[in-house]
C-alpha cells in the first residue's frame, strides 16, 4: 500500500487516450501525482522541467517513438536515474531484452491488470526510495 504523503510524480507517455486515461486514473487512485503526455516531445519537455520520479512509456508513439525517449532519458546524466517502465503492446522477447538492456526498469506487456501495473510501479519506487 502506497502512502498518500509519498506524492511521487509519475509521467505517463501514451498516445492511446483510453490507455493513458486508465493508467493516470490508476496512479491517482494510488495517491501519485500524475503527468500525462500523448506524444514524446511533450513527455520529454515535462521530464526536463518538472520533477518526475518514474516514467511509464509506450514504445509506439507518433513522430518520435518510445525507443528514442528511452535513449534520451538514459543518456542524460541528470535524467538517467529516473526509472522508466515500458508499457507496450509488443510482446516480442527481443523487444523486452533490448528495452532492459537500454536501461528500462521494467517491461510490461499490454493487456495488464490494474494490480500488476500498480505493484510494479510501487515496487520500483519503493526500491528506489530505499536506496
Amino acid at each position: 500500500m502506497a502512502k498518500r504523503n509519498n506524492r511521487e510524480t509519475i509521467l505517463v507517455i501514451e498516445d492511446d487516450p483510453d490507455i493513458c486515461g486508465f493508467a493516470a486514473r490508476l496512479f491517482q487512485l494510488e495517491g501519485y501525482r500524475v503527468l500525462q503526455a500523448e506524444d514524446s516531445e511533450t513527455g520529454l519537455r515535462l521530464v526536463r522541467k518538472k520533477r518526475v520520479d518514474l516514467v511509464l512509456l509506450d514504445l509506439r508513439l507518433p513522430k518520435i517513438d518510445g525507443w528514442t525517449v528511452l535513449k534520451e532519458l538514459k543518456s542524460n546524466p541528470e535524467l538517467s536515474s529516473i526509472p522508466v517502465v515500458v508499457f507496450t503492446a509488443s510482446a516480442a522477447a527481443s523487444q523486452r531484452n533490448r528495452a532492459l538492456a537500454e536501461g528500462a526498469a521494467a517491461y510490461l506487456v499490454k493487456p495488464l491488470s490494474a494490480a500488476k501495473l500498480r505493484k510494479t510501479v510501487a515496487h520500483i519506487l519503493h526500491h528506489k526510495g530505499r536506496q
Binding site: 498516445d15 492511446d16 490507455i19 486515461g21 493508467a23 509506439r60 503492446a89 493487456p111
Partner: protein, 753 residues
C-alpha cells in the same frame, strides 16, 4: 545376133571380082568390091568389114601397105591375101600374122576360099559371143559394189573394178596389166598368200577359198581385207573378191580388248568376283575370292553358290538370289561368306545380270566387297563412341558441341531430354535457329560469331534459355570450352548446360515464401499489437472496476464501462478486417449483389463520415444522371468509408474531402480526393499492398491494421472493378475505383433521376 560376114574384095581384076561377088552373094554374104587400095580405105571409113580379100598387087599400092593402113581403121578385120607369087612371104611377115588368115594363090580355088570364109565367120561369131558375155560379166563386175579383180597366173592384175579402184587409190590404167596383187599386200602376209597361190594353181582345191590379210593402198594406209578367190574355170586366172573389214576388225579388237580388260579386272580385282548361272551354279570365280575362301578353282566351279555363304541364315541367301533373278541386280547386300575352314567374313554383295539378245539371263557378275575389317574397325570405333556416349549420357548435364557454322555436331541423352527431340532431330541443325528463343537469338548469335572469329575471349559461364519441342523455355546455366583443330583454329564450341529452371523457380519461390512469411510474421505482429491495445483497455478498466469499486463514483464507473465497450468494438472491427482479408485471399468472399443507385450510397457515406469526422469538410459531387450499378452495397460502402477515413486521416483538419462519381465508357468511376500530404510517386501504387501497409504500420503512427486499402482493393476487384491512386506530394491524393456497368441490365433498370 546372127550377123552375116561383111566382105571387102580389093582387086583390079574385074572378072575375078565379079566371080567372087556371085559366089559370096550365093552364100548370103555381103560383099563390097574395091578396085584399088584407096577405094578400099574410103569404104572402110564408112563401114565395118569382117574380112577382106586383098590382091597383093594393086594399082595404087601393095596389098601389105593396104593391110597396114586398114588395120588402123578397122583393127578387128582379118585378111586373106590373094597373090600370084608365093615368094613374098617375108613381106607378109612384116605385117604381122595375127590378122592374116590365109594366102591364096591365083587361080583361086573357090571351094577352098569359101571354106576359109566360113571358118572366119564361125570364129567371128564366137568372138562376138565372148565379147557379149564379157560385157555382161563386166557389168556385174563393175556394179557389184564389192572390190574385185582378175589376175593372171603370174599375179599380174588384168582387170579391176571401180570399187577396187577406190580401195587401192590407183586409177585403172595404173593397175590393169601393170601391177601385181603382191604389191598390195603387207610384207607379213606376202609369203603366206604366195604359197597359197602356187598351191591353187596346181590344184584349185588345195588352197583355202578365202583369207584375211592386210592390204596396203597407194597412200600407205593399211586395211583389213577378207578376200574370196576362185579360179576362172579352164584358166589359170583368179577372180578375187575383196571385202574391207577394217571397221569390223577394229570393233572386234575393241571387244577383245574390253574382254581382256574385264578378265584382267575379274582375275585381279581385290574384290571377290563370281559368275553365277541363273540356276545358282558358280561358273567362274576370281583369285581374290579363292584366296580368302581357301579353295582352288576346281573345287568351286560347278558348285551351288550357297557353298560360299554362311549356312545361317540360309533364307537370306535364297532371298537375295531370288531378288537378283527378278530384278537383275543387287546393290550392297550385307552377306556373310564362309571359308573352307569355316571362318565367317562379312561382305557387301552387288551383282548384275548379263543377258542375251532375247533378254534371257546368261549369268550374273557378282562382286563382293569384304567389309570384315572395316566392320571390326567400325565396331571398335562404335564401342569407343558408345563408351564415350555412355559417359556423355551418364552425365546429368546437357552436353552440346556446335561447329563453326552453328550446327549441332554432338548432343548427349540429357540434352535430348531437355529439348524434347530425338538425337536425329538435333544433330546437324542450326542450334540458334532451332533451340534458342527468338527474343535472345540475335544477341547470342552475335556473341557466338565473335567467338568463332576470335574477336572475343570465351565466355566461360552464362545463363540462357533454350526452346523445347513443346515451345516451352528452360533456363540453362552453360559452361563453355572452345574446340580447336591441331593448328589451334577455333572450330566450334563444347558446352555443358545445367537446367536451372527448377532451381531458379525454387529460389524465386523461396524468396516469395520468405517474403510471405515475413509478411505473415509482420501481419501477425501487427495484429497482435493492434489486438493488445483494446484488450489493454478492457483489462485495465475491468480490473480497476473490480479493485477500486469502493472508490469510484457510479458516473466514473459508467465512463470506464463505455471505454471497455468501445474497445470491444475496436476488437470486433479488427476481427472483421482479418476475416475479410482471409476471405478475399481464399476467394471466399460472398457478395450480395443488387442494382443500386451509387449516388445514394455516396451520399449516405458522406453524411456518416461528416458525423464521425466533423472537423473535415466532406462533400459529394455527383453530377448528371448515373446508371444503376450491380453491387454489394455494404461492401462498396466499406470501400468508400475506408477511402474517406484515410483521406481525413492524412489531411489537415478544416480541409476538404470530395467524393465524386461519373460515367466513363463502360465503367462508373468513383473518386475520393483530399488536400493532404500526398504520397511519394514511388509509393503511390504500393499503398494497396498488404506488405506495404504492414511495414508502414510497424514503423509509424496511426491505428488499425493498415489492411483497409488492401481490403478495399480486394472488394473492388471482386466486383470486377479497379482501384488506383494519383498523388502529388504536398498537394493531396485522389483515390479512384471503378465499377463495371452491365450495359444491358443497366438499361433495363433505367437511369437514375
Amino acid at each position: 545376133m546372127e550377123h552375116k560376114l561383111n566382105i571387102l574384095t580389093v582387086d583390079d581384076d574385074a572378072g575375078l571380082t565379079s566371080n567372087l561377088q556371085d559366089l559370096f552373094e550365093a552364100e548370103g554374104y555381103d560383099n563390097t568390091i574395091a578396085p584399088d587400095g584407096q577405094t578400099a580405105l574410103t569404104l572402110c571409113l564408112g563401114k565395118d568389114f569382117d574380112l577382106s580379100l586383098i590382091d597383093f598387087k594393086l594399082p595404087d599400092m601393095t596389098g601389105v601397105e593396104l593391110i597396114k593402113k586398114l588395120t588402123k581403121l578397122s583393127p578387128e578385120m582379118v585378111y586373106v591375101i590373094v597373090t600370084g607369087y608365093a615368094s613374098l612371104e617375108s613381106a607378109i611377115e612384116a605385117v604381122g600374122k595375127e590378122n592374116i588368115v590365109s594366102y591364096e594363090t591365083k587361080p583361086l580355088n573357090m571351094g577352098r576360099l569359101l571354106a576359109l570364109v566360113k571358118e572366119v565367120e564361125t570364129r567371128k561369131r564366137a568372138e562376138e559371143a565372148l565379147r557379149e558375155s564379157e560385157a555382161r560379166y563386166r557389168t556385174i563386175f563393175e556394179t557389184t559394189g564389192t572390190a574385185m579383180l582378175i589376175s593372171e597366173e603370174d599375179t599380174t592384175i588384168s582387170i579391176i573394178n571401180t570399187e577396187f579402184k577406190k580401195l587401192c587409190g590407183y586409177s585403172k590404167e595404173e593397175v590393169e596389166g601393170k601391177k601385181s596383187w603382191i604389191e598390195f599386200i603387207v610384207k607379213a602376209d606376202v609369203e603366206r598368200l604366195k604359197e597359197s597361190h602356187h598351191l591353187r594353181i596346181i590344184d584349185p582345191n588345195a588352197a583355202p577359198p578365202y583369207y584375211e590379210f592386210q592390204f596396203i593402198d597407194k597412200h600407205g594406209n593399211v586395211k583389213d581385207i577378207f578376200i574370196t578367190l576362185a579360179l576362172i574355170p579352164g584358166t589359170k586366172k583368179l577372180w578375187d573378191r575383196l571385202l574391207d573389214i577394217t571397221e569390223r576388225k577394229r570393233a572386234e579388237k575393241a571387244l577383245r580388248e574390253s574382254e581382256r580388260r574385264f578378265r584382267q579386272f575379274f582375275e585381279n580385282a581385290p574384290e571377290y568376283c563370281y559368275m553365277v548361272s541363273p540356276e545358282g551354279i558358280i561358273l567362274n570365280i576370281n583369285n581374290a575370292a579363292l584366296k580368302v575362301l581357301g579353295y582352288n578353282k576346281g573345287e568351286l566351279i560347278g558348285k551351288p553358290v550357297q557353298t560360299i555363304y554362311a549356312p545361317e541364315p540360309l533364307s537370306k541367301v535364297k532371298q537375295v538370289f531370288e531378288k537378283w533373278r527378278k530384278t537383275g541386280k543387287l546393290r550392297d547386300e550385307g552377306m556373310d561368306i564362309i571359308t573352307k575352314k569355316g571362318d565367317k567374313r562379312q561382305v557387301l554383295l552387288s551383282a548384275t545380270a548379263v543377258k542375251d539378245k532375247e533378254g534371257r539371263i546368261l549369268h550374273s557378275i557378282s562382286i563382293q566387297t569384304d567389309i570384315t575389317e572395316r566392320k571390326q574397325a567400325e565396331e571398335a570405333l562404335r564401342g569407343e563412341r558408345d563408351r564415350a556416349q555412355k559417359y556423355l549420357d551418364v552425365a546429368g548435364v546437357t552436353l552440346v558441341a556446335l561447329d563453326a557454322k552453328q550446327k549441332v555436331s554432338l548432343i548427349n541423352k540429357r540434352g535430348c531430354e531437355i529439348l524434347g527431340h530425338p538425337e536425329e532431330e538435333i544433330i546437324g541443325k542450326n542450334w540458334f535457329d532451332n533451340f534458342v528463343p527468338d527474343r535472345v537469338r540475335s544477341e547470342v548469335v552475335a556473341v557466338f560469331n565473335k567467338l568463332m572469329a576470335g574477336e572475343i575471349e570465351l565466355v566461360e559461364y552464362y545463363e540462357n534459355s533454350v526452346l523445347t519441342k513443346t515451345g516451352g523455355e528452360l533456363l540453362i546455366a552453360w559452361h563453355n570450352t572452345v574446340l580447336t583443330d591441331e593448328r589451334g583454329n577455333t572450330i566450334g564450341i563444347l558446352s555443358s548446360g545445367e537446367d536451372i529452371t527448377e532451381r531458379r523457380l525454387l529460389w524465386k519461390r523461396m524468396i516469395e515464401y520468405e517474403e510471405l512469411s515475413k509478411l505473415k510474421s509482420d501481419i501477425l505482429s501487427t495484429v497482435s499489437h493492434e489486438l493488445r491495445t483494446p484488450l489493454a483497455i478492457i483489462k485495465g478498466y475491468s480490473t480497476m472496476l473490480v479493485d477500486y469499486t469502493q472508490k469510484l463514483s457510479s458516473k466514473e464507473k459508467t465512463e470506464h464501462l463505455r471505454s471497455i465497450d468501445n474497445a470491444t468494438d475496436r476488437l470486433t472491427e479488427l476481427v472483421d478486417h482479418l476475416l475479410d482479408m482471409s476471405r478475399l485471399d481464399a476467394g471466399l468472399l460472398k457478395l450480395d449483389m443488387a442494382f443500386t443507385s451509387i449516388s445514394k450510397v455516396i451520399k449516405g457515406a458522406v453524411a456518416e463520415a461528416s458525423l464521425r469526422t466533423p472537423k473535415h469538410n466532406i462533400a459529394s459531387h455527383v453530377g448528371g444522371r448515373l446508371p444503376r450499378v450491380n453491387i454489394d452495397t455494404k461492401r462498396i460502402r466499406q470501400v468508400l468509408d475506408n477511402l474517406i477515413d484515410n483521406a481525413c486521416k492524412y489531411s489537415k483538419e478544416g480541409t476538404e474531402v470530395v467524393v465524386s462519381a461519373q460515367r466513363e465508357g463502360k465503367e462508373l468511376v468513383v473518386s475520393v480526393a483530399d488536400q493532404g500530404t500526398g504520397i511519394h510517386a514511388k509509393e503511390v501504387n504500393r499503398v494497396f499492398d498488404r506488405l506495404h501497409s504492414a511495414e508502414k504500420r510497424l514503423t509509424s503512427q496511426g491505428e488499425g491494421l493498415g489492411l483497409g486499402l488492401a481490403i478495399s482493393k480486394g472488394l473492388v476487384e471482386a466486383h470486377g472493378g479497379r482501384i488506383w491512386a494519383e498523388s502529388e506530394l504536398g498537394k493531396g491524393s485522389t483515390f479512384y475505383f471503378s465499377l463495371p456497368l452491365d450495359t444491358k441490365r443497366g438499361h433495363n433498370h433505367g437511369e437514375e433521376e
